[in-house]
Symmetry: C2
Subunit: 655 residues, 2 copies
């Protein structure tokens, strides 16, 4: 019937082992704090935290106890994301206790699965007759997708395939409901996720039918007659949320306004968008579908060149957690949801599978070191859902237009999507460092690590040490099983002005053999060959495109991959009174006192003194400015030293 | 029983006849376009306009026809505001046709009045059993207040008291329901308005009971036990709007969070706030209630010194059409409702009754010449409800946080409060020019006019000619019935740097006898004495208080009372690319081509050229700036030359 795995192009996915002081601290935080803490919240055992009821829902669905379903219709996905993170964690470090907990939950899931393979506690407990009647709102395939991701991660880490079998049965059930065949629904989920998950299942199992089901969902989206529209009309134009009648279904919200190949702009709910683009890109990579590839490039270009914050945040509005339009990137009413940046990293990784272009890795790095890393407090227990680039705490509480922006990280959320998403990204960070095309290994992220793979027909081990993000010294030691010719491509980051490369001590001309932002070194490699890379990392100014109105006449500071910000903890408020000197230099000092230790930047600037102001609310004379030393710290650290103002973009003096 | 009119201080209200080229054009627009147009909309005879159904509701309540109530619960007030404007219009210019129309409506109102005096079509038609059960939401007293204002205006203009009698009967009914007596409600309206209206009724009739009922409503507000809170609990915590249960009643929304004398900050719905402050100030002026006076001063100071836009707009957020907090004045997510600025003008006029302080008149002038005047298109048929200081049209349509801001004036509104409010203000502008304290006449607005009053025991006629807003030449000719001593006080506007004054050709030292912002000239005046005032009117820069974060490092241009703005029609977009030169001068030219003719300002500046930008969305090099001549036009004219960007605040070069 279907094609086999051999019919598709299966690029190897490279998973390194992270050996990096900077990142291991965060990975351990995810392992030691986030995963155990979330396990407790899923079981409603954390005092003061909002009730999750996610495990309780499964216990009820499994018949272990009686009770009502509670939580969001997609509450199950929290359990899935935890299991996925647990899987990655176990792949890094075996942990009998964690494995026992995960096995226990998987046992529970097995009991909650229905005889026909169906798995979803909401529809099992609360609306058993209504399965698959509201794809637009009810996240059934979305939840299934997350369990598939968990199943693959857990199987890869532990070799245990119980959850995988559960999910294969669920997919079989899905295949009986959806698909091109007669009497099957020509539908797809309101919240994309199953598409990318099925591709993971395909890669793990080699079963082409999973790829093809993913392809069906992707191809079906936005086709006429419009499935979600028809479904909505059939249920009397009611929304699941509150059951109220809606004037109109917003098809852009879930990117079903057009067939995916015809889409050219990032629109709608940002997380849904990037989850979909991720699946599209991977599918294009697997199938060689050039039209799909080009659609991905168009969407990428729109997103990265016109709708992305400097921190790698995406989504300019709270309303619908959505993109708005080109160059509309307000810093203070921003959304920039943590999960959306994580999804952007997923998307970037798939684009790197399609084509080795450093610009994809640039965005991946930007989102990782700034928006995503900044979303988590240094204690691993507090999170930003929204990641603003400018905060005035009083406005967050007193101006309703900014109520969605929090000046302090929150404990956990009623819709707790971000913390487990951070956990699963950190514990799978080892998958984002390298990609391979033919016999060239591409180093996308400079993260200390150890990789074992095959290049040029030879088994190769690559050790990477990196002083990122504080210094730009990177060393790759190549250990081929035997001397062999292959390429090693080193990404020249977009923030750098050049890099020095030495192979076994001999300088290479950096400008040579630049291909799409990588310096490609092709040679015969022997045991112990050393590539030394030095990327100058100096604090520098960044400016925004003149059409980006919110950042006009402002500058930001960046150093290496890190975007910097000003905080009230270091600079007198209001921060808006500060102006950086156009000509002034920067002084960079590693400050142990900053959480975890970090390079702080001192800059020359000017500040308007409210004390010298002679007008009322308005006046004819500008208050005099006094020279001041401005202190900037990495954006990812903001809000770890009490509540106060923060800004990434700062006015700059001069014409 | 109650006190008589003699017991209260009844300051004369001075009504001049406007003889002013600039303003008469707008007054005629109100008379010739707005009032006739609104009459048609009230009768649902304007094609394409949203149905009003306001007259139809009265016809149904009057038993002239059958049908359902339609529109807002406060739909009646549109009829009242029209009648009030018609009254003012008739006081300026008799018009048999208009009077016939008004008499017809009054006849209809009489028929709709219930046997017990009650008047409100919503509760008469739709919920007859529910009168006075939801003061918080249902606007019964609010509507009554507007009809009282109409009744007084119409009686003053025409001598016809039919509507006045209707409303006196309604007030009698209200007195039977509300008041200190046993069994009466200790309540007040959710939307303030009746308070200020009853004081007008008191002034017209001399009946102290009307003042005392107003005083009851004002004093009762915010007292414990909390009337609106109790009422809300009694109806099951339901809101009238949609009937949904609310978590909490927002008492700040309608300024009932505290007794009025204890309030210190402008909070909540801005129109409600200023309508209440208006009544408080007038009541304090009438009763000499010093505690109330001080509360008004505190609220004024907070509002004018910390929560007012440069254009005289108030209300920083769409949510609840409300104030937010000190110095929070975002230019693009602004509310600054037209009606709120009109209410601010009402409030300012009452503050001028309490004390002759030029700062009250400064705000009145600011709101009048900018926010209010700008709300109306030059055709009199299109209006802004929200008056932004910065507009990017695409953001208004594509960013939901700005959907409430329109880049173009709209035809009419479902909630059509602003156009009739503009009409009634313009047609009663003659009441805002002068105030009197003892034997001193205070010129608050420089508007060509003719006033007849009594000063120093003598009948006096004062002719004013004014070249405002384009030039600062003002001439007052004094015609006392016989030579008499009294004072004439000339306001030194806050935007001016001084003024020259000549009396019968002889210069006065301008700095002498300055009292609270007025130059007071006390002397014996004889027939034909001439005061010439020259207030230099030059375009100049304005800066905002350093705490006003939205305007940091920016400047605005003002000339005389007019705030200026940049528009896409005159300057290449994005306007954010423009920076004014710190040192550059301004060139002022009267441009006949601008709607109605206006002084445009040319300024030296710099603009960032998007064409010279070498980065992607972000880059290391700032795009070069090129010198450019920037053109600014009066804010009130914005949006009359097609849709485009607009900004009041512009970046400024230099340290």
């Amino acid at each position: 019937m279907g094609k086999t795995v051999q019919d598709y192009h299966t690029q190897p996915l490279l998973t390194a082992a992270v050996r990096d002081e900077f990142w291991e601290r965060y990975i351990r935080l995810a392992q030691d704090v986030v995963i155990p803490y979330q396990y407790e919240t899923l079981h409603d055992r954390v005092e003061g935290a909002e009730l999750s009821h996610a495990i309780a829902n499964f216990e009820i669905a499994a018949g272990r106890k009686t009770g009502e379903f509670h939580g969001f219709v997609f509450q199950d996905s929290d359990v899935a994301k935890w299991l996925e993170a647990a899987g990655y964690s176990l792949s890094i470090r075996r942990d009998a206790e964690l494995e026992r907990k995960a096995d226990g939950i998987i046992e529970l899931i097995a009991e909650a699965q229905q005889p026909d393979g169906y798995l979803n506690t909401y529809f099992t407990i609360k609306e058993p007759g209504k399965r698959w009647t509201n794809l637009n709102d009810c996240h059934e395939l979305y939840c299934a997708g997350h369990f598939i991701e968990a199943a693959v991660a857990y199987a890869e880490a532990t070799g245990k395939e119980k959850l995988l079998q559960i999910m294969c049965r669920m997919v079989e059930h899905i295949e009986s409901v959806f698909g091109p065949g007669e009497g099957r629904l020509k539908g797809y989920d309101g919240h994309q996720e199953i598409e990318l998950a099925l591709l993971k299942l395909y890669r793990y199992t080699g079963e082409a039918r999973y790829l093809e089901l993913s392809q069906f969902f992707i191809d079906q989206r936005g086709q006429q007659p419009h499935f979600l529209q028809q479904e909505w009309e059939q249920r009397g134009q009611l929304s699941f949320w509150g059951g109220s009648r809606m004037e109109q279904l917003d098809l852009k919200y879930n990117q079903s306004h057009l067939p995916v190949r015809e889409q050219t702009e990032a629109v709608g709910h940002a997380v849904r968008a990037v989850y979909m683009y991720t699946a599209m890109a991977e599918l294009a990579a697997l199938t060689g579908d050039e039209a799909l590839h080009q659609a991905c490039v168009r969407l990428w270009d729109n997103l990265a060149d016109k709708q992305m914050y400097l921190t790698g945040g995406i989504g300019s509005t709270h309303a619908g957690e959505a993109f708005t339009f080109d160059y509309d990137l307000p810093n203070d009413t921003v959304y920039a949801e943590t999960c959306a940046s994580i999804g952007l990293i997923f998307f970037a990784r798939r684009m790197l599978m399609l084509a080795p272009q450093a610009r994809y890795a640039d965005v991946m790095e930007r989102a990782l070191y700034n928006n995503v890393l900044g979303s988590m407090a240094q204690d691993g227990k507090h999170y930003f859902y929204v990641n603003p680039l400018e905060v005035w705490p009083q406005a967050c509480s007193c101006n309703p237009g900014k109520h969605h922006v929090k000046a302090e990280r929150q404990g956990w959320f009623g819709c707790a999507c971000c913390p487990p998403n951070v956990a699963r990204l950190l514990t799978s960070l080892n998958q984002y460092i390298y990609t391979v095309h033919s016999d060239v290994l591409y180093a996308n992220l400079y993260i200390g690590s150890e990789l074992e793979t095959e290049l040029g027909g030879t088994a190769v081990r690559i050790e990477q040490t990196s002083s990122f993000p504080w210094e730009g010294a990177v060393k790759l030691t190549v250990h081929p099983a035997e001397a062999a010719e292959f390429g090693v491509a080193l990404r020249l980051p977009s923030w750098s002005t050049g890099m020095e490369i030495r192979v076994n001590g001999a300088s290479l001309a950096a400008a040579e053999n630049m291909e799409n932002g990588y310096r490609v070194i092709r040679r015969v490699w022997s045991e112990g060959d050393i590539i030394e890379v030095m990327i100058p990392m100096e604090a520098h100014r960044v400016y925004a495109h003149p059409n980006l109105r919110a950042d006009a006449h402002r500058t930001a500071i960046q150093r290496g991959p890190l975007v910097y910000c000003l905080e009230g903890a270091d600079n007198a408020e209001p921060l808006s009174s500060i102006m950086l000197s156009r000509q002034g230099g920067f002084k960079e000092v590693f400050d142990e006192a900053l959480p975890g230790g970090a390079v702080a930047v001192a800059a020359e600037g000017w500040r308007t003194e409210a004390g010298s102001w002679t007008g009322g609310l308005y006046g004819r004379e500008r208050a005099p400015r006094k020279p001041v030393t401005v202190r900037a710290v990495p954006y990812y650290l903001w809000g770890n030293r009490g509540s106060g103002e923060m800004t990434v973009w700062v006015a700059e003096s001069g014409v």
